[in-house]
């Protein structure tokens, strides 16, 4: 039986892992490679990396180097995939088919696209025809505007797109999964936006990954029980709580949620 997934999301900014809140406040949390060793040990179901850098400069802040090291995202993907034998999804800054190809070559399994998908919906079709739809995850960031959830391009720019309508378009165009992020709930630690998650999930035939708002393990349980999403994702909670991932899985298993047992 297919298990539901619990996914840590790591936000990369200029080569460092950061904490995110409302998509704008970012606090440095450290080196992506030392973080990944922990996730590998926790035997997580899958890892999602989202690069939110605004400049094309990466500083891994390696303590063992006296000189300032510059490395790019592709190097980070390569190094992460050397120690991680789990699915890796990378997003952020993808504008061309070559961007996708290069990330896959370095060890990424799936790619999330956001801005380019909104600007050029046919890019979803083009890329899924070449790389397979299972590889193309359309990331949908949304925020409530006058009570109704509207899509924000790249998490920043408002659009008039309704979140359910846009998710359906993305599916029709060939997306393999939808990575649904609530900007309002991001970093608030007050639970998931159950209503929107359910609406989007029920209107689609592709898997949905719900993200944004987990503050306690019971938020995972609530999202798993009240919606049928294929995967639940979170960022901050996994950084700040001791053994957060295995404990979260324990909490889900205890409630009878069908997930993969930790090793």
């Amino acid at each position: 039986m297919l298990k539901r997934r619990l996914l840590p999301v790591l936000f990369l900014k200029n080569g460092l892992i950061v904490r995110s809140e409302g998509f704008s406040y970012h606090q440095n949390l450290g080196n992506p490679l030392s973080e990944v060793a922990r996730y590998s040990e926790w035997d997580v179901d899958e890892l999602i990396y989202i690069d939110i850098s605004t400049e094309k400069f990466y500083d891994l802040r390696r303590d063992d180097l006296k000189v300032t090291g510059k490395s790019n995202l592709l190097d980070i993907i390569r190094d992460v995939s050397k120690v991680c034998f789990m699915p890796l999804t990378f997003g952020g800054g993808v504008r061309t088919l070559d961007d996708i190809r290069n990330r896959l070559l370095m060890g990424a399994d799936k790619i999330t696209i956001n801005t380019i998908a909104i600007e050029e919906p046919d890019f979803i079709t083009k890329s899924s025809k070449i790389f397979g739809s299972q590889c193309i995850v359309v990331s949908v960031d949304y925020k409530r505007v006058d009570g109704s959830p509207k899509v924000f391009k790249g998490g920043r720019e408002p659009t008039n797109l309704d979140v359910v309508e846009w998710a359906k378009i993305a599916e029709d165009k060939g997306a393999g999964e939808i990575f649904l992020n609530s900007i309002d709930n991001d970093g608030a630690a007050e639970g998931y936006d159950i209503e929107t998650i359910r609406k989007v999930n029920e209107s689609l035939g592709i898997p949905v990954i719900a993200c944004g708002g987990a503050g306690t393990f019971s938020d995972f349980v609530e999202c798993a029980q009240k919606t049928n999403v294929s995967a639940i994702a979170a960022g901050n909670i996994f950084h700040f709580t001791e053994l957060a991932y295995p404990k979260a899985k324990e909490a889900l298993l205890k409630q009878g949620i069908n997930i993969r047992k930790p090793n």
Partner: protein, 204 residues
Amino acid sequence: MIGVIEYGMGNIQSVVNALEFLSVKCTVIHEASEIEKAEKIILPGVGAFGEGIEKLRQKSYVEALQKAVIEKKKPFLGICLGMQLICKESFEFGHFLGLNWIDACVKRLQVPKHYRIPHVGWNNVRIKKKNRLLAQENNTGDSDVYFVHSYYVDALDADFTIATCEYGCEFPAAIEQDNIFAVQFHPEKSQRAGLAILSNFARV
């Protein structure tokens, strides 16, 4: 030495990483002429069938693979798209002919309405018969492996189907036919359970 075929279709590096982690000697093959030097061959691949077979043809891999796997009987492991490409034909985004090493065609998963496509995530496989690829000790029907696909090899009752998986319908998860092995899931992405499979292939 295991040769991992690079043909512009997806995540080659993670297969190499997994083999290196297991201390198995491997090399990435970029040209058809390099296939000869490999003792075993892995054909990974993420993506669409049509694009995949086209890339194999463009780079003249088809003949070289045929020679190595069919004539010289070198052990071969197809992963995901690599499993599908060795079939007769596929119906993904059209109709395409494959390498035709196993008698099966590739079809879109036929699942009840509430099942989502692609089939993404961790699912357990059921071992159907004694084989050299999957762990035998405890007949690990319970170990989860990572799948991500929308199409499957339609050969449930074939002799070469050694393990199956269930997602709305039952489909072959692994096959073995003489020196030809293939898995629909991603052993290189399946943590410990997957590494064990790659290690078994290295020892064939």
